[in-house]
């Protein structure tokens, strides 16, 4: 094997290894987090970055032909489809969970959130002294 062949092998192996590490991280995240909406965060990474780096490794192995183009098409399709399926799954969880407030802060309307943020701006010092529950969120909005 020439130098080019070795370079191709090393580059492809590197990308495939990155993909496998990301898949492992995904599984770790799914077992580490405690709630579905957090777990989805970990799986979305594998759906986009994990499969795309695996496919790039396979593209390097495959060379310059139609198989490479099809592999690219799979990656592009998953980049479009994965956010949509995550969104639909989140809607399923929010629609069917009756005590969602136990896991995260729920704002029924966007207007309530905006009002709360507007109120939190001048009273930030008071909020820090009182140590209220939504203190972390309102300061997060402040720092932009």
């Amino acid at each position: 094997m020439g130098v080019f062949e070795w370079l191709r092998l090393i580059a492809g192996c590197l990308f495939l290894l990155i993909g496998l590490v990301i898949f492992f991280t995904e599984i770790f995240g799914v077992f580490h987090f405690r709630y579905v909406l957090n777990r989805m965060h970990a799986t979305a990474m594998g759906d986009t970055l994990g499969i795309s780096s695996c496919m790039i490794g396979l593209m390097i192995f495959s060379g310059w032909n139609y198989t490479t183009l099809k592999l690219l098409l799979i990656v592009v399709f998953l980049w479009l489809a994965s956010p949509v399926s995550s969104h639909v799954l989140a809607r399923l969880e929010v629609a069917t969970n009756e005590n969602l407030g136990a896991h995260c802060t729920v704002y029924p309307e966007l207007k309530t959130l905006e009002q709360e943020l507007a109120c939190a701006k001048p009273e930030e010092a008071d909020l820090q002294q009182n140590g209220q529950a939504d203190h972390a969120f309102s300061t997060g909005g402040e720092t932009k």
Partner: protein, 110 residues
């Protein structure tokens, strides 16, 4: 031969990684947990099919991989919509136990 051994190694690693996803799909406390893990398994199987396509040198297996991606996406979307519909119907029936014919109408919403 070198490439063959490499592909076999990666396939074995991916096959071992499928078992934790299966455990999460069985143990998941909510339906969304199960759907998320099934989606994750689908992603790994897609990589496995793509590796098989290169290992066996059969280009058409990549088309099967693309169709697998589409069916996996479709199944997640359809199952989510179906479960939302079932939940709405159950809640509607619990709130209004007297009218049974109303359930047929609410199917059009999803």
């Amino acid at each position: 031969m070198l490439y063959h051994n490499l592909y076999i190694t990666i396939l074995v690693i991916l096959a071992v990684m499928l078992f934790p996803c299966l455990i999460r799909a069985v143990r998941g406390p909510r339906i969304a947990d199960r759907l998320v893990s099934v989606n994750m398994m689908g992603t790994m199987v897609m990589v496995m099919i793509a590796i098989l396509a290169l290992m066996l040198d059969e280009g058409y297996l990549v088309d099967i991989c693309l169709i697998y991606a589409m069916i996996s996406f479709l199944s997640v979307v359809v199952l989510s919509k179906v479960y939302i519909g079932i939940y709405e119907e159950k809640r509607h029936k619990a709130e209004h136990p007297e009218d049974e014919t109303e359930g047929g109408k609410s199917d059009g919403s999803f």
